[in-house]
């Protein structure tokens, strides 16, 4: 399903003609017509708003609460699996899923972009041009950055999941958190807390696409992700190792 959306975007852009979209659409979309590689960036941007957080919410919300609701959690612990080890393995699975999801989106978009649009040297946001290989390398970095953002969301999801036995409740809660964060980010009156919101730095990967790759945004973003991972992983660990498993 994740791969289907880039295909849709690519086809839609192709059909709307070379000048379609203009400057009003999301970033990169207008550049797609010039170079198919940009379809990958465009897809990631579009999907980061809702679809990728949704999939991360589903996977991380189900991680512990799903086992509890199935009743298999008590048997996992009795094997024994060790509470800390179980939590770590579940989180690793969430992170790997996030990486796979982002990679799928990028790969699908790349394939479609190559098929539908001309491909050549990549024009960066700062104006300079790099070769196709370097452009693909930057795409890889973008994918990693987005995967890190999703891993941070996954840590929040894991923590929420340890508090409940109902996976659907956990999933809904995580999604609400993600959307609330994005909405708050768009409200100028909350500008004081903007840098601390988890979703504020999701779309900052544009810095990778400048001529000297990097920049303060990028480091801020990665720092934010790391802090969120540490805080919420600690919450999840504290809760899980001290809770009674009555499911």
């Amino acid at each position: 399903m994740l791969a289907g959306i880039p295909v849709l975007i690519g086809v839609a852009l192709k059909l709307s003609g070379p000048g379609g979209g203009g400057g009003g659409g999301p970033a990169f979309l207008d550049q797609v017509a010039g170079n198919g590689v940009f379809l990958a960036f465009a897809s990631l941007t579009v999907l980061l708003t809702l679809v990728l957080p949704l999939t991360m919410a589903v996977v991380s919300g189900d991680s512990m609460a799903g086992e509890a609701s199935h009743g298999t959690l008590r048997y996992l612990l009795a094997v024994p699996a060790g509470r800390t080890r179980l939590l770590a393995v579940k989180y690793a699975a969430v992170v790997i899923f996030g990486l796979a999801a982002c990679a799928t989106v990028a790969a699908a978009a790349l394939i479609v972009g190559v098929i539908l649009f001309p491909v050549g040297p990549v024009t960066l946001l700062s104006g300079s041009t790099v070769s196709l290989g370097a452009g693909l390398l930057r795409l890889l970095l973008v994918v990693l950055y987005v995967a890190a953002a999703m891993a941070a969301l996954g840590a929040i999801g894991l923590a929420v999941s340890t508090f409940t036995e109902h996976p659907i409740g956990a999933i809904a809660a995580i999604l609400v958190l993600a959307v609330a964060s994005e909405v708050s980010d768009a409200v100028p009156q909350f500008s004081a807390i903007h840098p601390y919101l988890p979703s504020h730095w999701w779309l900052s990967f544009g810095a990778i696409l400048r001529s000297p790759a990097g920049g303060p945004e990028l480091t801020h973003g990665l720092l934010s992700f790391a802090v969120y991972v540490i805080i919420f992983a600690a919450i999840a660990w504290a809760r899980f190792t001290s809770a009674d498993v009555t499911s």
Binding site: T72, A78, V79, D244, T246
Partner: protein, 381 residues
């Protein structure tokens, strides 16, 4: 209220291996004997001291339970629903943290040593739980993969062996959601048999099984116990537990009211019937006493007495004699009730139940008070 304190006290009061010899000439079905403890094993497989659990909300689910499960025995953990059996089992396995008290499994303090010792413990807690979309074999493979002490190279063989022991080899490839309840229970037991275990903790393994399934599980438990594994079985059916256990622990409203060998439990519940009648020689009945019944002593008496219901299940009274027996049944009649034929011949017998010296029944009754002759209720049949 009961003799709980004595039964649940220090381990040396349990009396391993001490049993009354059966009366001469009595036929008994083969009962498992408490085996001698193998050298190198902890003498007690499960021990706990004052284990308690109070849930948020103030409910005291388990109150000062001190278990002592001898190694190599089959320990029946009895009690009605809601008596705290499952909560105790969850605490033993480290799933729930006790509010107070300590416990050890196989000599290792828990829950600190959980990762070290739980791989030698197989368990079935509150019903089977597996993933419905996987087959039985795939579910067991997942269980085995989670166990760090399990050797992956022998996994397939061990899974097949476990499935064969419980009789599920033919259905191993079906999805779990297609299993009947009996098959699900057996798969849960198979998960506990994937590796050689020193201890099996089974929470109501025959729950929901038909008689055939119950027989199969019983024979499986006997087979496991014969291999030297300690088996801790919880149930609310004394009849079930009697057939497989060597030792018994009885729970009631969170407290362990009795702990000891099966024979001790029967002794505790036993009482003699004292029949006072004008015709004592009629009360003896022809022939020798029936097997399993206590001989009836007779003594001369005059007054009509309340009719005692001569039915009743000795074992129920014995098992739950401490656990809130029947207050409306003044002459609890284990052992030797007066035979129905004789009752007709006896003139208004006075029946009273005497328990062995030093013990009290839970309802504290002793001799039946005789009714006045003006009473309109019939006093004897």
């Amino acid at each position: 209220m009961s003799v709980a304190g004595q039964g649940a006290g220090p381990r040396d009061e349990i009396g391993f291996g001490r049993e009354d010899p059966p009366p001469a000439g009595e036929r008994q079905p083969a009962r498992p004997r408490p085996p001698a403890v193998a050298p190198g094993w902890p003498a007690v497989a499960i021990s706990s001291t004052g284990l308690s659990k109070r849930f948020r909300g103030g409910q005291l689910a388990v109150d000062g339970v001190s278990l002592a499960v001898p190694a190599g025995s089959v320990y029946g953990f009895l009690g009605p629903n809601g008596s705290g059996k499952t909560t105790t089992i969850r605490m033993l396995l480290g799933l729930i943290y006790p509010t107070s008290g300590e416990h050890e499994l196989l000599g290792t303090p828990m829950p600190a040593g959980a990762t070290a010792v739980l791989s030698r413990v197989g368990s079935l807690v509150e019903g089977p739980a597996f993933h419905p979309q996987l087959s039985g074999r795939a579910n067991l493979a997942r269980c085995d993969a989670t166990d760090r002490t399990a050797d992956p190279a022998t996994a397939a063989d061990r899974i097949s062996a476990a499935l064969e022991r419980v009789g599920l080899l033919a259905a191993a490839r079906k999805h779990y959601r297609a299993y009947s309840l009996g098959m699900k229970q057996r798969l849960a037991i198979a998960a506990g048999l994937l590796q050689p275990r020193d201890l099996m903790i089974l929470d109501e393994p025959t729950n929901g099984l038909d008689p055939q399934g119950t027989r199969e599980v019983r024979s499986l438990i006997r087979e496991i116990a014969a291999g030297g594994t300690t088996v801790f079985v919880s149930s609310h059916l004394l009849a079930e537990v009697e057939q497989i256990s060597t030792h018994v622990g009885v729970m009631r409203t969170g407290q362990l009211v009795f702990q000891g060998t099966l024979a001790e439990m029967r002794d505790r519940g036993a009482a003699r019937i004292l029949v006072r009648t004008a015709e004592p020689e009629q009360g003896q009945g022809p022939g020798r006493p029936r097997p399993g019944r206590r001989p009836v002593r007779t003594a001369r008496g005059q007054r009509p007495a309340r009719r005692a219901a001569a039915g009743g299940d000795q074992r129920r009274a014995g098992a739950r004699g401490r656990a809130g027996g029947r207050p409306g049944n003044p002459a609890a009649q284990p052992g030797g009730p007066v035979r129905r034929a004789d009752r007709g011949r006896l003139r208004c017998p006075r029946l009273s139940a005497r328990r062995p010296a030093g013990q009290r029944s839970s309802h504290g009754r002793r001799a039946v008070p005789a009714r006045g002759s003006g009473s309109s209720a019939p006093s004897c049949a």
